[in-house]
């Protein structure tokens, strides 16, 4: 999928652990792990809003568009 989740990078910058963030935004550790490892197919605006609020960041800090096809062509 060309959308990449940079949650681990932002979490590292904020020095927050996965379980701590999961508890603060009110989703399970398993679901947050799916999001972090890029296995999620979609993200709700409410989840994105909660993550941005807790990590004090913008959606663009967490989500990144990376075109795999153009990467492989170049």
């Amino acid at each position: 999928m060309p959308i990449k989740v940079n949650l681990d990078k932002v979490m590292k910058e904020r020095e927050t652990s996965l379980s701590d963030l999961a508890g603060r935004i009110g989703i399970t550790l398993a679901n947050l792990s799916i999001l972090k490892t890029n296995k999620a197919k979609a993200i709700r605006f409410s989840t994105l809003e909660a993550i941005c609020r807790e990590l004090n960041c913008q959606p663009s800090d967490i989500l990144e568009f990376k075109d795999d096809a153009s990467d492989s062509r170049s």
């Binding site: 999620a40 979609a42 709700r44």
Partner: protein, 236 residues
């Protein structure tokens, strides 16, 4: 446990029982097929078929009593007397013995297909009652049932047509009409003969094909359902 869950559980067990019933019945009939050995050659009774019965039974198949009268079409045949006999009983005996092998093969294949279809239905309802309706296993079951239904319809139509053709071809050469009398109203002079259709006719059951394609459509709907379920599960 809700009512739909209970119903799918009931169907699951019904198909489990049914598949073993079909195995038992199939095995019994196969045993009868294998052990039965009709001795037409040494039989005392004449092999004769009443013309009247021919008219009634074989009207819609490949046999038909063919009548031709000199005048009009409004002759009402009240009664046909006489008999249709096989020329050589020994040849008939040999002919039906030669048909025994293919018939046993066709029957055994039909029983095996029936058993496998019930097995697939049992697996499908096991998946549904376990709450895994949109799984790879259930999709595979539905698609396989569709393939089996279409294959059974096509091959069954071909087999029936082929056996019918073999039998008709043989009967055409070996049947004789004896002492035929036509009692008609009004009384007419005419001729009567036995017409046997000896061309291969495939008897495809359109309903079987329809059911097969319906299973394919349901399988496709389940595949799409699985995609939606996966997407829903992976939405954080």
């Amino acid at each position: 446990m809700n009512s739909s869950h209970r119903f799918s559980n009931f169907l699951k067990w019904s198909f489990k029982i049914l598949k073993w019933v079909i195995v038992c019945v199939g095995a019994m009939v196969l045993l009868i097929f294998l052990t039965a050995n009709p001795d037409l050659e040494n039989s005392d009774s004449d092999i004769s078929l009443e013309v009247g019965k021919f008219l009634l039974q074989l009207d819609e198949s490949s046999y038909a009593i063919h009548t031709r009268f000199e005048k009009s079409n409004d002759v009402v045949i009240e009664e046909l007397q006489g008999s249709v006999k096989i020329k050589d009983v020994r040849a008939a005996d040999q002919f039906y013995r030669s048909l025994k092998g293919p018939l046993i093969f066709i029957f055994a294949t039909a029983v095996a297909l029936g058993f496998y279809t019930l097995h697939l239905l049992h697996q499908l309802f096991a998946c549904i009652s376990a709450g895994e309706s949109f799984s790879d296993k259930s999709i595979r079951c539905i698609r396989n049932i569709g393939v089996l239904t279409i294959a059974a319809t096509l091959s069954g139509g071909f087999m029936i047509g082929y056996i019918d053709w073999i039998q008709s071809s043989w009967l055409k050469e070996n049947l004789i009409l004896e002492g035929i009398q036509v009692i008609g109203k009004p009384s007419q002079q005419g001729t009567i003969g036995l017409r046997i259709n000896d061309t291969i006719r495939f008897q495809f059951d359109i309903l079987g094909l329809f059911v097969g394609f319906m299973f394919f459509a349901i399988g496709e709907a389940f595949r799409q359902g699985k995609q939606i379920q996966e997407e829903n599960q992976l939405t954080i």
